[in-house]
């Protein structure tokens, strides 16, 4: 009992006694109009203290009035009974009526306040867990008793005020059926401990439960109010959950935009680098071509020297053509177009041997090994594309491994002969682990790569596009104590 109720009850008792004294002092006859004065404290008590206070005060007033009514009743006999009972019953009825109305109004006001409070606390809940905790705290402030909540979050059950939901518990039953469960007594020594579990409903489906346990009364009206509150809270929780999802989606979107922006900035930087590098890469063979053609045009050379210069010029032309081809392929790639392939059965070991022979002649600083130990199935591939793939990979191996080291190419059948795997290994310093996932991106160059050798950063992107266009895969890995291994697969001829 709160201090306010105790104070009001004391004032009511005092007022009742004073008014009764006044009424008896003024005119003790049962028909005195002053008898109606007793209704004043009764009505005030009903309005201040609710139905219980109104009824108790009404009874008190009736008992006091009885001191005036009963003697008359005794004198008049049966003829005065109805009037006497009406006189005694009036304050009780007035107290019950005014108290009942006040109690109903207070309950309606409490429900409205609670609904507003629920909306307010759930407005910016970041997660369902937080929303449930806030909802429980809010309910605990407005509804007497122990409160617990459970709500489904996908396969997970979020809880507030309880550690678990046991099988065959009241809550489990409500979650399964969507119908409220009521138990008049669930244990405890002192008095009854009532339990009510109502579903939190969204679109007719139970998404969770609200459980209330109380040592004391939990009447039908309050049970109905709690069931309605369950529907309201379910909707509010669902709104909070959707708002939370929306917030998380917005945050995710912002993060992705930030990432994309950073990526675009990096791409822009890499493209700038590429323009500078490509200009340099293009200028080198062009300079050689211009210089040697100038020499040939302005001087006379013996036939052997002319052949040597012509070989150099042809080599630079091939290099120039490869750079231009890579740029064109990359251009197609960036436009979303796949490389054009003319697929025929290709003997991979033959193409690999030819590619290595070119490098053996052009790069005598390295040793080259070809290992194809078993008869291989023919690959279903474009021979020119395969040659470009191998040339790019072997060229990289040569560029990023020290002079005198070995560049090995190995071929083997995999997947029961349905594919051919080709690996290119070098004895270089390997690729930094953080760059392994990115080296097939256009314009990307591993940290420190530019210090070792020139490169446009588009070769491996073109290689990957060619392999993927064949339906194969490519991967790069570091081999401990060796160097880098690039492995790609091509489908075999069925």
């Amino acid at each position: 009992m709160s201090a306010r109720v105790r104070r009001d009850a004391a004032w009511t008792a005092l007022a009742l006694v004073l008014v009764a004294g006044l009424r008896i002092g003024l005119d003790p006859s049962p028909a005195s109009p002053w008898r109606h004065l007793l209704l004043i404290p009764v009505l005030v008590a009903g309005l201040r203290l609710g139905s219980a206070g109104g009824v108790v005060t009404g009874f008190g007033a009736a008992l006091l009035e009885a001191l005036c009514v009963l003697p008359a009743l005794e004198r008049l006999g049966a003829s005065g009974v109805a009037d006497g009972l009406l006189t005694l019953g009036l304050p009780i009825g007035a107290g019950a009526l005014s108290g009942g109305l006040a109690t109903r109004a207070a309950r309606a006001r409490g429900r409205h306040t609670l609904a507003v409070a629920i909306q307010r606390v759930l407005a910016d809940a970041p997660t369902l867990d937080a929303a449930l905790l806030r909802l429980r705290d809010c309910l605990a402030r407005h509804v007497p008793g122990a409160i617990a909540l459970a709500a489904r979050d996908g396969e997970r059950l979020v809880l507030a005020g309880a550690a678990s939901v046991a099988a065959r518990s009241l809550a489990a039953r409500v979650l399964a059926t969507g119908e409220p469960a009521w138990a008049p007594h669930v244990g405890g020594e002192q008095g009854p401990r009532r339990a009510l579990v109502v579903p939190l409903v969204v679109r007719g489906e139970p998404i969770g439960v609200l459980a209330l346990e109380r040592e004391g009364e939990l009447g039908r009206e309050e049970q109905a109010a709690l069931a309605a509150l369950g529907a309201h809270a379910g909707l509010a929780l669902e709104n909070a959950r959707l708002a939370s999802l929306q917030r998380r989606a917005a945050e995710e979107l912002a993060r992705k935009v930030d990432e994309a922006t950073a990526r675009l900035r990096e791409m822009d930087r890499m493209k700038s680098d590429f323009v500078a590098i490509a200009s340099h890469e293009l200028r080198t063979p062009l300079t050689a071509l211009a210089g040697f053609s100038e020499l040939l045009a302005t001087r006379r050379f013996p036939p052997e020297e002319i052949r040597r210069l012509a070989d150099i010029m042809r080599g630079e032309t091939v290099r120039l053509a490869r750079i231009v081809s890579d740029i064109l392929d990359l251009s197609r790639l960036e436009r979303g177009l796949e490389p054009v392939l003319r697929r025929v059965p290709v003997a991979v070991e033959t193409v690999a041997a030819a590619a290595l022979e070119v490098f053996r002649r052009g790069a005598p600083t390295h040793r080259f090994e070809l290992r194809c130990p078993e008869p291989l199935p023919a690959a279903d591939a474009d021979p020119d594309a395969l040659e470009r793939i191998l040339a790019n990979l072997v060229s990289n191996a040569v560029k990023y491994s020290p002079a005198g080291s070995c560049v090995g190419v190995a071929c083997r059948a995999i997947d029961g002969g349905r594919s051919v795997e080709v690996t290119v290994e070098d004895e270089g310093g390997g690729i930094p682990s953080e760059a392994l996932d990115r080296i097939f991106e256009p314009y990307y160059r591993a940290p420190g790569a530019s210090r070792v050798a020139y490169g446009t950063g588009i070769g491996l992107a073109v290689v990957k596009s060619l392999v993927v266009a064949h339906g194969g895969t490519i991967r790069a890995e570091n081999v401990p104590a060796r160097g880098t291994r690039m492995a790609f697969t091509l489908p075999a001829v069925p």
């Binding site: 001191l67 617990a148 550690a163 518990s169 244990g187 020594e189 346990e213 009447g219």
Partner: protein, 266 residues
């Protein structure tokens, strides 16, 4: 939280669960035998009355003890035995009235460590409120009876008043509050609402007094008794529901019945 964390099983006992049937059969048999022996003149009237008192109050308290205590079921036989002893001692004269202290003392002893739920301690304010209510109801009854029925308020001689007070303290009030509040109301309240439990408890409480051969049987007095006992029963149920203890009800009933003993017929 039980509703979530525990598989649900019904905690509510049926209204008759745990009733000491053997005790009741024995008491009824003893009462019938005493009545028969009394009718045949083989047993003095005083002894028949003592058996009647012990059977009525012993049955109520025996059921209350069996329903509400966590002790051996044999304890349910003690109230009847103690009341027989109290009645026999009271027959010896005024000092023998101390025998009526046996039952309250035994109840207090039994209630140690909270083994009798309805005798758990209650706040002093609640006990005082109960006493105030009993006094107000008793006073109103006295004034009402004086104004209407012409009864008068008298202070009887100690020798006449003390046996009644001893009977109220040692049998009437503990049996009434123990059974109708501590056992019946508590059990009904676990099953039904406060209003329903109060109605059941109070109606049986009033019926018990209307059937009491020690009370006057005129219509006016019975109507008055029903009115005041109803108010007393309702108030005591409310006190019990609030505190879980019968002490406020015991205080209210003791003062009400003490006031009742001051009422002398016209």
């Amino acid at each position: 939280m039980y509703a979530l964390e525990h598989p649900h099983r019904a905690h509510v006992a049926s209204l008759g669960e745990g009733t000491p049937v053997a005790l009741l059969v024995t008491l009824v048999t003893a009462w019938v035998a005493a009545q028969a022996l009394g009718a045949l003149g083989w047993l003095p009237r005083r002894a028949v009355d003592i058996v009647g008192l012990a059977v009525a109050h012993g049955a109520l308290l025996g059921i209350a003890v069996a329903w509400t205590t966590r002790t051996a079921r044999a304890q349910a036989w003690f109230p009847a035995a103690l009341l027989v002893a109290a009645g026999a001692l009271a027959a010896l004269g005024l000092p023998g009235l101390l025998g009526y202290a046996l039952l309250p003392l035994w109840l207090v002893w039994l209630a140690r460590d909270g083994r009798v739920g309805w005798l758990r301690p209650a706040p002093a304010a609640s006990i005082l409120s109960g006493a105030l209510l009993g006094a107000v109801l008793g006073a109103h009854m006295l004034v009402g009876a004086t104004l209407t029925l012409g009864h008068r308020i008298s202070v009887p001689e100690v020798a006449a008043l003390l046996p009644w007070l001893a009977y109220d303290v040692g049998a009437n009030v503990p049996a009434g509050e123990g059974f109708f509040r501590g056992a019946l109301f508590a059990r009904a309240h676990r099953r039904w609402s406060l209003g329903a439990a109060t109605a059941i408890s109070t109606s049986l409480y009033v019926a018990r007094y209307l059937l009491d051969p020690l009370l006057p049987s005129t219509l006016e007095l019975m109507a008055g008794a029903a009115f005041y006992l109803s108010l007393l029963g309702i108030a005591n149920c409310w006190f019990f529901a609030r505190t879980g203890s019968a002490w406020p009800g015991l205080a209210a009933s003791l003062l009400f019945f003490a006031a009742y003993r001051l009422l002398a017929p016209a």
